[in-house]
Amino acid sequence: MAIRRKPQLRPRKSGYLFVAPYVALLVVVGIYPVGYAANLALTSFTAHFAGLTNFINSYHDYQFVPAFENIGKFLAIWLTALVVLVVGLSLVLHSLNRRVSAAFRFVFYLPAALAGSASVMLWLFVLQPGDSPWNFILRWLGYKTLGDSLAPGNLPVIFALIAFWTGAGSWIVVMHGALATIPEDLLEAAKLDGAGWWRTAVHVKLPLIQRWIAYMLIGAFAAGTQLFVEPQLVSEATAAASNQTWSPNQLAVFLSFHLDNFNYAAAISIDLLVVALICAAVILMRTGLFKVGH
């Protein structure tokens, strides 16, 4: 990423006036809280410098590794679904008639309106045998109560399903935007060279949108490690103790308000923040999607 300084830019101090309010907010809700959390993570209960003790001790908490294993399973399913289905569906939609493609995109995108807690609650109904529209599938799986559907082994799949249901449409729209930038001539040339649907998709379109696929995967990975709403609402619905610390973010919250251990909680939140920062830096430096300047 190159930030070029352009000659037209006016070397005026009045620029500060335009950015100052935003910078103040950036400090209050971005930089200061991160600094505060980092400071907590590096100090002991008695407010003395503790080095990495909190990081090491929180790692040795018996709930730490399982939480990251849960997230790992969830991410494996979710990212696979994203890369296979979002890319596949976008390529299929791109070769359809414009109106049909737009209609499908709208259907895929609509669940985004229920992002967050609403989609989890809706899915809890959908997973509840009896009144569920997927009753026949739930019966076939032998589930009789919501508790059966929410068996611990099912949770990574269920969270991946919910995340895919609410988020895939937005990514399909992003991929569509990327595919729309491919010049017509190039596709015509491929056609003239005798490339069929499959070869055009794999050898022409796919290489041209691979930066977007990388962006989607890294971004989804970073967001997925932060998983909170889905396991939290399921834990509230099931009142199962094991679900209260299902994801690392839940564990961090649990440690701080149940055990009053703000230092461990801060250490875990810094762990996750470092993952997010690395992902953001990789997207910024390596994909070349976010350019500065014209």
Partner: protein
Amino acid sequence: MRPLNISLRFDVSVTPQPWTLASGLRRLVLWAVLAVVAVFFAVPIVWLLLETTRAGQTGPDSQVGAPLAFGSLHQLVQNWQVLFSGLVGQIGTWLANSALYSGSGVLIAVGLGVPAGYGLATFDFFGRRLLLFATMIAMLIPSTALVLPLVLEAHSLGMLSSPLAVILPYGFFPFGVYIAYLYFNTPRVFGLLAAARSDGCNEWQAFRHVALPLSTPILGLVVVLDFIASWTNYFLPWGMYLAFGCAGSAGTTIACQTTRYPVTLGVAQQLMAGAPAPFAIPQPASVTLQSLQMQTNAPASVEALLILVSVAPVIVVLVIAQRWIASGRLQGIFV
């Protein structure tokens, strides 16, 4: 003088592939896959809409009709009356709270973000590159990554349960700053600004009378995106108002201020009747979970209507902005 336009085009007609069994099968498979995926995405929403028109069940296995059947409009009106009868939590208050928090957040995001993007695009000042870099990093990390640090900060400042504890983070929308920056950072805008200045505009007048009127498209974009993100946020208000908000100092529990909940939080707490209070001793894994039940024991149809009403403003905004979001033009900003 008009530029001379000569188009050289070789029209080679590509004859359509002859219809064969293989290509027919391929099409069939393709449409079948699309249909299955569309059903996967649409059915939960269709179910939600239909459920609100039915009498609904109150317990497990007391099924009323097929899951995907239409009830009656009369029943919908009845469910609506039950929902707003005051029995089902404080839905009116929560909706008003969400409107206040998201609305204020959007105002801050626009009011601070657009001038900041303008400042970054048109002035050169010490720290400009650093600010731009920080903005892009902040825009690319998931907003959930900042929730716990924000909650810890609010806890230390005694700001938990304060409306500002959610409004200020909602107002921080670095993506909007980046969009504004890209929008103003074009030769066209630079030319117009230069003209305005040579006509005697000072910096403020150039922004107010030239840049701002030009920025209406991005104003809409920032409003829509920040509004949706704020309205659907659950983790941040959960931390501020519930998990920590009900905690007094030194682990004592004080009453949760349910009247300050945004609608996401209120509705979820209303629906999760089996939920342990944040400070309850964890119970053993529940084996008796039969179905979701509201604290008022209302039928599932009222619960469905509750979910639908809680996201109605987002649906309205999405449908209005649909053409423009689904067109992918929004993403075209980066390319």
